[in-house]
């Protein structure tokens, strides 16, 4: 592929699209897919061809629009009309009213805060392009960032831009991405690897899945840029086997990119070569931890090892390895395209850019949102999320999955960034945000997460393997009303011990849900004790 050919694909695609008077986009992300959006798409296509309008109206499948609870979503022309809860039977009406108006019964207001309050960088293409066609990606300027990197920038300049942007790892750790890249770049060794971590194990989080499903080429391009910057020529995308649609689209994207010479040998005629392979996870939460993930790619049990040495120096097959989360990689292309300084203007002092959250639980608008860092929790829950359904009262928001904590109402006006979340005993995490109302029992929530950590503990280090079992037992006793105040003391003591002495992040953070609920909802624990203190 030459730069001219890339231009040509974009031009042809643009001209083809312009021939159509109307464009009907059906969301085919997992949310809408489970609500049978494929059938809606087929019905629309049938209706268009039945009326002989194939050259007048284009029907296409697009990635996630975000408002998963109202699926299947259908968009007519770009942002003109949005329909929700569409069934195959509605196809006739939708096609007939293309020119004249709309179908009011299905209309979803596009001026909802859910749509207007978001800032889309990572998800800019989601809902706009067909994830299964590389041409759709190219026409949006796809692969031009890679072209710019390979032809105009040195690896050091690329790393400089990423450092300037202030981007931090989006997988939970929040490690500065530029620094990580530099470490791998200067590490000794001729063979280096890139790994894109898509082992999104947190229950209640589906950001990475949506990104992979809606815009797979963005990940491939981001990985190629990262590979060029650090001097790698092989990359792996590690995806959960539970995400079949994401795997299918990513596989298709790799084949298309290879066929077009955008992956493989001598990309854009430069000496740079880059190959990508997919590795499937097999249902082990601990594989989200980087050293465990490397073990898994090497075909071994996914158990972490002590660090240092960090994977940046001693990673896959003992070679320097760069591991970045899917969302982090998805931020690379816009940073290279617009410059690090542009990115650094968004967000707060210490947390730049945007963050994608999976907003779920007891909230009116469940789905996928992207907001600038520094937004308040109240804005997310009550404006974008539309508040709590059934007139119930907000109780807590859980962030960070099993490694995070529950944040009570008094901190709703806190800004969302790495530092403030850590201050209140939670973490940014990968981006799951679960809203709980007054019906949720916080002891049960803590027990739920502890059960998760207990079953997912890999068994390598004792504090995690044994501590989680004991903490879970104590929580069960509290929940069953059989615990004494002494048990509560023991629980707190154990939390501290496991936090301090576990080998990897899974163990170190497993007490977080307990500690944060104890901090803010201690009365619920006390109410469930069999004997009250002093009795």
């Amino acid at each position: 592929m030459t730069p001219e050919e890339l231009d040509e694909i974009a031009t042809i695609e643009r001209e083809t699209t312009h021939q159509f008077q109307h464009r009907v986009s059906v969301c085919v992300g997992t949310g809408c897919h489970s609500a049978h959006s494929e059938e809606v798409k087929t019905a629309l296509e049938k209706e268009v061809s039945r009326q002989g309008l194939e050259n007048w109206c284009q029907v296409k499948g697009v990635g996630c629009r975000g408002l998963c609870a109202s699926g299947p979503m259908v968009e007519v022309d770009t942002a003109a009309r949005l329909y929700q809860g569409v069934t195959p039977e509605d196809a006739v009406e939708i096609v007939e009213t293309l020119d004249t108006g709309s179908v009011p019964r299905l209309e979803c207001p596009t001026d909802l805060p859910f749509f207007t309050r978001q800032t889309k960088i990572v998800l800019e293409h989601a809902g706009r392009i067909d994830p299964e066609r590389i041409e759709d990606y190219i026409v949006m300027g796809g692969y031009t960032a890679l072209l710019k990197t390979l032809t105009e920038m040195t690896p050091a300049e690329v790393i400089e831009q990423i450092t300037t942007s202030g981007l931090r790892g989006r997988g939970g750790g929040g490690y500065p991405t530029g620094l990580k890249w530099r470490t791998v770049a200067i590490a000794a060794g001729t063979q280096k690897y890139i790994i894109c971590n898509g082992d999104e194990g947190d229950p209640g989080a589906f950001m990475d899945r949506s990104i992979l499903e809606s815009d797979p080429h963005r990940i491939l391009e981001g990985m190629a840029i990262a590979a060029y910057a650090v001097g790698a020529d092989e990359g792996y995308v590690y995806v959960r086997a539970e995400y079949p649609l994401a795997i299918k689209r990513l596989r298709a994207a790799i084949i298309q990119a290879e066929r077009n010479g955008l992956l493989g040998k001598n990309i854009f005629g430069t000496p740079f070569s880059f190959h990508v392979e997919i590795r499937l996870g097999a249902g082990a939460f601990v594989c989200g931890e980087e050293t465990a993930l490397i073990a898994s790619i090497e075909g071994r049990r996914g158990t972490p090892r002590p660090r240092p040495p960090y994977p940046a120096e001693f990673g896959l097959w003992g070679c320097p390895t760069l591991i970045n989360n899917v969302e982090t990689i998805a931020n690379i292309v816009p940073i290279v395209r617009n410059g690090g300084a542009w990115f650094a203007e968004i967000g707060t002092e210490n947390s730049k850019g945007t963050k994608v959250f999976a907003l779920t639980g007891r909230v009116n608008h469940t789905g996928l949102i992207e907001v600038p860092m520094g937004i308040t929790l109240r804005e997310i829950v009550f404006d974008i999320g539309g508040g709590i359904p059934d007139g119930r009262k907000f109780k807590a928001v859980q962030t960070g999955g099993p490694s995070g904590g529950c944040i009570p109402e008094e901190y709703l006006d806190m800004t969302v960034d790495y530092a403030s979340l850590a201050q209140v005993g939670s973490i940014m995490g990968s981006g799951g945000m679960i809203i709980m109302d007054e019906t949720s029992n916080m002891v049960d929530v803590a027990r739920y997460f502890m059960e998760f950590c207990m079953t997912e503990s890999c068994g390598k280090c004792i504090p995690c393997r044994v501590g989680t079992v004991q903490m879970h037992e104590l929580l069960c006793r509290i929940a069953a009303g059989q615990a004494t105040p002494h048990d509560l003391e023991l629980l707190e003591e154990l939390c501290d011990l496991v936090k301090q002495t576990s080998l990897c992040g899974l163990g170190q953070s497993s007490p977080n849900p307990v500690l944060s609920t104890l901090r803010y909802f201690r009365n619920e624990y006390m109410d469930q004790l069999a004997a009250k203190p002093g009795e």
């Binding site: 897919h33 589906f206 539970e242 097999a282 996914g302 779920t360 469940t366 503990s457 890999c458």
Partner: protein
Amino acid sequence: MSHGCLFFWGNRIHRRIRPDAEQNSDTLKCQERTMSVPAGKKLKLPLPSDDRRWRLVGATMRRHGYRPSALIETLHTVQESFGYVDNDALRFVANGLHVPLSRAYGVATFYHFFSFKPPGKHTCAICLGTACYIKGGPDNLKALEEAFDVQAGETTADGQLSLLTARCLGACGLAPAAVFDGEMVGRLDRMEIQQRVERLLNDDARRT
């Protein structure tokens, strides 16, 4: 109570750990990386039986050059083709990839995705991710356990239904969700989930 005592109690998942000799051995790692069959050279690997599905498993190993690192990928193919991993499969894969049988067993038991029992004719996997959990997933599970006399993770005595639980299907917007024979359905309650499973089972009865 001392912590040492607590650790002793918690030993019930002790079997998961084993000394990882290869973990820190660089030389072995390098060998693994390079130990592959040269392209073009055919490797004769006797198939366990005439079952055509073994060829799929063999093809996966061949695609990865019979490298030991392809263990998990190959087990995925076994799981996908046969529905479960049995001793024959483990031996075949361990042989083909030149890994000790103990390691193949260790890996297969470590990851939740691989099962060692044949699945029922139909499967229903209930999501118990956080969003589904607080919206009634456990209730749905209980309803099915009672209605069909089967525990989570088990198959009914007649082999018709496997009841499974999932960590998170990523369909949190549709919570509580479940997957019936590969088809995901959201916003389920006790009644509906029961009806759906009955429909799954009855569809067969009608056909036969």
